[in-house]
Symmetry: C7
Amino acid sequence: MKIRPLGDRVVIKRLEAEETTKSGIVLPGAAKEKPQQAEVIAVGPGGVVNDKEIKMEVKVGDKVLFSKYAGNEVKIDSEEYIILRQDDILGVLE
Amino acid sequence: MKIRPLGDRVVIKRLEAEETTKSGIVLPGAAKEKPQQAEVIAVGPGGVVNDKEIKMEVKVGDKVLFSKYAGNEVKIDSEEYIILRQDDILGVLE
Amino acid sequence: MKIRPLGDRVVIKRLEAEETTKSGIVLPGAAKEKPQQAEVIAVGPGGVVNDKEIKMEVKVGDKVLFSKYAGNEVKIDSEEYIILRQDDILGVLE
Amino acid sequence: MKIRPLGDRVVIKRLEAEETTKSGIVLPGAAKEKPQQAEVIAVGPGGVVNDKEIKMEVKVGDKVLFSKYAGNEVKIDSEEYIILRQDDILGVLE
Amino acid sequence: MKIRPLGDRVVIKRLEAEETTKSGIVLPGAAKEKPQQAEVIAVGPGGVVNDKEIKMEVKVGDKVLFSKYAGNEVKIDSEEYIILRQDDILGVLE
Amino acid sequence: MKIRPLGDRVVIKRLEAEETTKSGIVLPGAAKEKPQQAEVIAVGPGGVVNDKEIKMEVKVGDKVLFSKYAGNEVKIDSEEYIILRQDDILGVLE
Amino acid sequence: MKIRPLGDRVVIKRLEAEETTKSGIVLPGAAKEKPQQAEVIAVGPGGVVNDKEIKMEVKVGDKVLFSKYAGNEVKIDSEEYIILRQDDILGVLE
């Protein structure tokens, strides 16, 4: 069972932060208002959303940083996902 | 008796979450701010709503995820429905 | 004495909810934030309201559902009416 | 001494509600958030207000219903008036 | 020393309300949210303000009514003035 | 070291108010919500800011009045400056 | 590992304020609502963001001043960065 996000929405799956790895990203889970790392699972079609032309800039498999409290959490097949608008994604990790 | 939603509104009927099924969607009912699963019952015509051109992307029978507190609840012929704007629908389950 | 609503406003008259009828609409009066049933009494001309082109989609005699706290109540000739914007009408009952 | 309202503003004078007349409008003065009855005293020129083209739809002498807390009260020559935007006028009584 | 207001701003000087004069305007100073009477001292050039085309409709010397809490107070050469946007002026007294 | 403000921002330096001078501007420092006097130190290029065409109307050296709580304070080379948007400047003193 | 910011976002790295240097910038760390000094690490592509055409005006290596509470903090490879919108950058130090 899959989620097809509408408009400018993106489905992401949170990555567990590696808290002590030297070359890894350190994101203390309890910190407030901090962005978090996730993998993109599904991307909406974009297009005209609220009369604004939205072009999707992320793709499935991208590692992204997002605002902690953005979006809605949902659990499907025992897996937790977050559905948010692309605008709540801060950047792509490369 | 049926509801014909106006503009970009959609009538949905909440689906009971199967809380333990392996391949089902797990949506704890008491969880706050979590999206929920529903079936689309009726879809407004879209068109120009608040001066924005809205194209309806869901259709009757679609299983959708929506923000828990979005929309208005209404009971018709002893059945409970929710009327919300299409923008409050997060994604379609496939 | 009649009310001629301006712009996109609509005058409606609340219908008493039939609380136990099988085929009627059940709308518990004390429930908060729930939509309510009403009959359309008068419809504004629509047109350009706040620089938005509004086309009126309801007509006199329509049974409609509306957000409980939307609009303003007014009593004329001992009858209570509600004046609200068409956008606060959720759907038409058919 | 007269007030010439600017833009889309309208000067109105509150009418005392006839509280028990059968064919009159009953507007309990103490009720909150309820519209009130008034007579239009002066009408602004309309035109472009905040970049929106506003066409004035009320004229001097009209009996109107308005949102109770809309606008600003002002006393001129011992008479109390209210200056509000046309959009705060709900409808015209006919 | 003079103030040249920018954009759609207007400099006004509060007029003391004549509280008992029959033909004067009565504006109790302590009343809240009530408009007040003032004389226009300087008028900004208008033009495009926040991407809106603003045409100045008041001129130096006009007696105007304004929302009590609008604008900013400033004291120059021991005289108190108020600088507000033209939109906070309710009407001109004639 | 200098600050080059972006967009419609302006760097100003607060002028000490001469509190008793007859012909000076009197701005009690502790008064709340009152505008203040400052000298313009640097002016952004203006242009399109948030999709609005902003034309800069103040220039370096201008004495201006500004809303007390507008903008951000910054200390450079032991001097305190304020960086604010041009729209927070109320007027120019001449 | 690098962050590629989306749209009008910018990745910056806070510079420690030199608190006593005569010719340095003094930014007391505990002061509230004060801008802060940082170096630009990565710049988004700009373009159409929320239907607004955004042209990026800062470049990698720029020393900038920014609003203290703007943006989101993120730690990558043990280094702390801030991701904010270009509009939260007040000015460039030269």
